[in-house]
């Protein structure tokens, strides 16, 4: 994992802290890191490009049950009562907040963090995006019993270690 000055465990802790600060807080559920996680059906993937001081891409994968839990906790309503656009907006927003929290943990206080607008990975662009971003590093977590994954790709970084 090429994030200068950080061990694999420190990176996991940074992601975990960001997940707890967002999903843990919104859903009131404990989040833990998981090794050797089983595959799960992903459906849509979401991603956020990070621009300053780290250039890269962060992908998010949520199992359907994870998505349902998040949506129902955030909106205090049943999954079936929430429209597709609102669901997408919710996961885009959550992906954006988690990414900003992650990056802000590895920069100096008051250093600006710039990220792109969150996006959905559409199937037809998926291969192209992965090729353009290079190697991907996957980190698996569970929110309660529900799986999710965060996939990092660091292109370059301009920061003190």
């Amino acid at each position: 994992m090429e994030l200068r000055g950080y061990s694999n465990k420190e990176i996991v802790d940074i992601i975990l802290s960001a997940l707890e600060g967002v999903l843990g807080r919104l859903c009131g559920m404990r989040i833990v890191a998981v090794e050797d996680a089983e595959d799960f059906d992903v459906g849509q993937r979401f991603y956020v490009e990070t621009l300053t001081p780290i250039s890269g891409v962060v992908f998010y994968e949520f199992a359907l049950e994870t998505k349902k839990t998040i949506i129902e906790k955030v909106f205090d309503d049943k999954w079936d009562n929430i429209g597709r656009v609102m669901k997408d907006d919710c996961f885009l927003e959550i992906s954006s907040i988690i990414t900003e929290k992650m990056i802000s943990k590895v920069v100096r206080r008051d250093e600006p963090v710039k990220t792109g607008f969150p996006m959905i990975v559409f199937d037809e662009y998926e291969d192209e995006l992965e090729v353009s971003t290079g190697d991907l590093f996957r980190f698996d977590f569970r929110m309660g019993e529900y799986p999710l994954s965060v996939i990092l790709c660091i292109r370059s970084q301009e920061m003190a270690g």
């Binding site: 955030v74 656009v85 954006s96 929290k101 802000s104 206080r109 008051d110 963090v113 607008f117």
Partner: protein, 125 residues
């Protein structure tokens, strides 16, 4: 009845901010803007003069900093308290602090406690 303007691209963000504000007071009239241009239109129009603006910096069409600078330059916002939503870098806003009533900077997900902490001058109940 308090009037609060919430400016954020995301419906979810605005929903969560409203949810937290309603924990502080049930008597709030909201106006929402989903991008900087729409927010500037509301401020310029002056039909809805908010008691508080909660402004995300990351906005489409016109970002939050540009919006604030433009509103300050045109004397549209000088007396209206503003809370900025940003993840990092309070010092970046020191220039703005001198030119508008910036109450503070809070991060997402916004909580009622965070809002209350930066709005000491506002009576919520």
């Amino acid at each position: 009845m308090k009037k609060i303007a919430i400016v954020d691209n995301s419906y979810t963000a605005r929903f969560l901010i409203k949810k937290e504000l309603l924990k502080l007071s049930s008597e709030i009239e909201f106006i929402e803007a989903h991008d900087g241009s729409a927010a500037y239109g509301i401020i310029k129009d002056q039909k809805f003069v908010p008691d508080l603006i909660i402004l995300s910096l990351k906005l489409q069409k016109m970002n939050g900093i540009t919006l604030l600078k433009k509103a300050v330059k045109n004397n549209l916002i000088c007396s209206i308290p503003v809370i900025i939503i940003a993840e990092n870098g309070e010092k970046r806003f020191s220039d703005l602090l001198r030119n508008c009533r910036l109450l503070g900077v809070i991060s997402k997900p916004v909580s009622s406690e965070d809002i209350k902490a930066v709005t000491g001058e506002i009576q919520w109940n």
